[in-house]
């Protein structure tokens, strides 16, 4: 594969990644958000895999496979089971409506590209155009965590931030050392499970999983 086709392949996958992160933010149903997250993770795994094969980095290939298995299959599956058991039918509830969320998201993408424009002192080892995408993903995750009411959407936001950081690590340094990468995957899985347990506790105690009911502790 020549460098040019490789670059345009990564470019293409990057666009798909960005589209899927918009999809997570703007879908009005939690089920769709989770599917979009699975798609996002799938494209992330593909980008990682392509970079790994093009540069002959074995440990990155392992992370790509793990990303695919864990984030595109296992975690969405855990989420779907959680939703089924919680019996959520209602759509996503947000403090900010969807058109405005979209506007904010576009702005954040502009900001991400602006702060990483040429002349920035960050010179990644692979495909610099992924850096603004990674930063945008982190921003999207934060936007999601601050504007959504449902506890489950906040977990999704956290996972989106994690995906962004993963992409950052992949493009800047070909990922972290394998040992660290493994530990992060383990942490992530445990975090999702523990937060899942807490969602059920919240549901039982507050009779809903809206976090704006949580106003008991102040001062």
């Amino acid at each position: 594969m020549t460098t040019e086709t490789l670059a345009s392949l990564i470019h293409f996958l990057g666009i798909l990644l960005l589209i899927s992160s918009f999809w997570i933010l703007t879908s009005s149903q939690i089920r769709t958000s989770i599917r979009a997250y699975a798609a996002h993770s799938f494209f992330l795994a593909l980008i990682t895999g392509v970079i790994a094969i093009a540069n002959h980095i074995e440990h990155l290939l392992i992370s790509a496979i793990l990303t695919f298995g864990l984030k595109a299959i296992v975690i969405p599956h855990v989420f779907f089971r959680m939703i089924r058991r919680l019996g959520i039918r209602k759509e996503v509830e947000s403090y900010v409506n969807i058109p405005f969320t979209l506007l904010l998201a576009v702005l954040l993408v502009f900001v991400s590209f602006y702060v990483t424009r040429d002349g920035s002192f960050l010179k990644p080892v692979a495909f610099g155009e992924c850096i603004p995408l990674a930063i945008a993903t982190v921003f999207f995750g934060m936007l999601m965590m601050t504007t959504r009411k449902k506890a489950i959407s906040q977990i999704l936001g956290l996972l989106l931030i994690e995906n962004g950081l993963f992409l950052m690590a992949v493009t800047m340094t070909f990922g972290m050392p394998l040992l660290v990468e493994m530990g992060i995957f383990f942490d992530l899985l445990v975090a999702v499970m523990i937060m899942g347990v807490f969602i059920f506790k919240i549901r039982d105690a507050f009779e809903s999983i809206d976090t704006d009911e949580m106003t008991g502790l102040k001062g």
Binding site: F121, L122, K123, P124, V125, V138, M142, M145, A151, Q154, L158, I161, E162, L165, M168, A169, M172, T173, F174, M176, P177, L179, V180, G183, I184, F186, D187, V190, A191, I194, M195, F198, K201, I202, A205, F206, T211, M214, G216, L217, G219
Partner: protein
């Protein structure tokens, strides 16, 4: 002893605690585990104190004098806390907690100790990040031991806020790794995240990137350390957790996060050759004290009052580290040690107070001394100690930190700190005076168990002793540690 064994002990005992057996047996395993872990760790630390660094696990784990101080703290407070929890949570009567839940509590308690030990033993900055995230995950269930509406809220906020904070710190770790990858030959990629390796090659790292990394780490681990304005989870979690857990959270968990910041601070100072990170630490430290002081003065809940006092003391420690001189760093480390024991003692007394008065409201608690002279005396003395009154230990370390500031001619900073510290002092005196000596009818109460009172007594003796005399080996260790933190400058 080796690092692996010290780390392994709490991990093994975590799973031993899960064995279904009688409540009494679980309690024995639970407390014995903490004691064994402490004995092992202490003999290890003082056994190798001659050599500066001990490596394990392919260089990914390391113990130098800096981590040794924190190992002593974690296991020391761990023993006190587990002994107290043995009486506090394993109680009988109508409020008894079911044994399945107790086993799970014991499991997470030891897991929490394990993750904290892993944090301080990490040489690999990536593993340190994983361990700090692990402390959040392991302690979330401990915060929610009561399973009430308010404790679920506190635990959820704790989980979410700290996870987001720590993910920012991960960005800092990526940047540090990147700065090493960009400057060194390929092939050593396993080494590149090691703190010792980065420190040795600090001059070759891009100072701008390391500065950026430090900012992210300060915000990220600062969230965990309870530095203002990222402290919002802290009063909730500390006030809702049961007393022995609050003691661990406040006494050692916050300090572990401070160690994470300190490692990056040492690196940044070595890479940039300037006091960039030190200045940031001083700014955030003073800001934390500033935020905490009014909340202590006007507090209505005594556990939240102690939580804000933790924000204040972590701020002071950050200021001491930021001043950069060996005296300042020595003072800050001593402050962390003193704070760990004083604050955990205070949180243990809140367990007694909650039992006696069944409320967390300051205004509802009056006349502890009349009801229980032993508890009243210890509570009052400990609040004086935490407020910085001589002859107690906190006074000594606060004095050292401030004198480092005066030596560095930071008169304005020190002036602001002195005003704020006296405000905190007034706040504590006001609240604890009313709580201890207020009017109250004498109600006959069943005294708490011997072990729990024993824990209070041990804590009291410790903080009094540390005010007059720091044991030789600890003194030596602290001096070595501050030399490491000051970048090899001689004392």
């Amino acid at each position: 002893m080796t690092i692996e064994k010290v780390l392994g002990t709490p991990l093994v005992f975590a799973f031993l605690c899960l064995i279904p057996c009688s409540k009494r047996m679980t309690r024995v395993i639970f407390t014995a585990g903490a004691i064994l872990a402490a004995l092992g760790a202490w003999s290890f630390v003082f056994g190798v104190s001659g050599s500066p660094r001990v490596f394990a696990f392919g260089g990914n784990l390391m113990m130098d004098s800096l981590s040794a101080v924190f190992v002593l703290l974690i296991t020391g407070v761990g023993v006190l806390s587990s002994a107290y929890a043995g009486g506090y949570l394993f109680r009988d009567g109508e409020t008894a907690i079911p044994s399945v839940k107790l086993r799970r509590y014991a499991f997470f308690f030891h897991l929490f100790l394990f993750t904290m030990l892993l944090t301080v033993f990490s040489n690999n900055l990536g593993i340190m990040w994983i361990a700090i995230e692990g402390t959040t995950l392991a302690s979330a269930f401990l915060v929610n031991t009561d399973d009430k509406k308010s404790s679920i809220e506190a635990a959820w906020k704790y989980l979410i806020i700290c996870s987001v904070g720590i993910s920012l710190a991960f960005f800092g770790v990526i940047l540090a790794y990147y700065s090493a990858v960009a400057r060194t030959a390929v092939g050593e990629s396993g080494l590149l995240l090691n703190w010792t390796f980065l420190l040795e090659n600090a001059r070759q790292l891009d100072p701008k990137i390391i500065q950026l990394a430090f900012i992210f780490v300060l915000v990220g681990y600062g969230t965990k350390a309870g530095l203002a304005p990222f402290h919002s989870w802290l009063p909730d979690a500390h006030s809702q957790a049961p007393a022995p857990v609050s003691a661990l959270l406040s006494g050692v968990l916050l300090s572990c996060a401070v160690l994470g910041i300190l490692r990056f601070h040492i690196l940044t100072t070595a890479a940039t050759g300037s006091n960039f990170s030190g200045t940031l630490l001083v700014v955030f430290g003073v800001f934390s004290v500033m935020i905490a002081a009014p909340f202590i003065l006007e507090q209505k809940d005594y556990k939240r009052m102690l939580a804000y006092s933790s924000v204040e003391h972590m701020g002071l420690a950050a200021v001491g580290l930021g001043f950069g001189s060996v005296i300042g760093i020595y003072g800050a480390l001593l402050h962390i040690v003193n704070h760990a024991f004083t604050k955990s003692l205070l949180f243990f007394t809140t367990g007694h107070i909650l039992y006696l008065f069944q409320t967390k409201e300051i205004s509802q608690v009056k006349g502890i001394f009349r009801r229980s002279p032993f508890l009243g005396a210890i509570f009052f003395a400990a609040t004086l100690a935490i407020a910085g009154m001589p002859p107690f230990n906190i006074f000594v370390s606060e004095f050292l930190i401030l004198s480092a500031g005066f030596q560095a001619k930071k008169f304005v900073t020190c002036g602001i700190l002195l005003v704020l510290l006296s405000l905190v002092f007034i706040g504590f005196l006001k609240h604890s005076n009313q709580m201890t000596f207020g009017e109250s009818e004498k109600v006959p109460v069943k005294p708490k168990s011997l072990v729990m009172n024993g824990v209070l007594l041990v804590g009291m003796v410790l903080i009094l002793m540390m005010g007059f005399y720091i044991p030789g080996p600890l003194q030596h260790l602290l001096q070595e540690a501050s030399r490491v933190a000051a970048g090899g400058a001689s004392l």
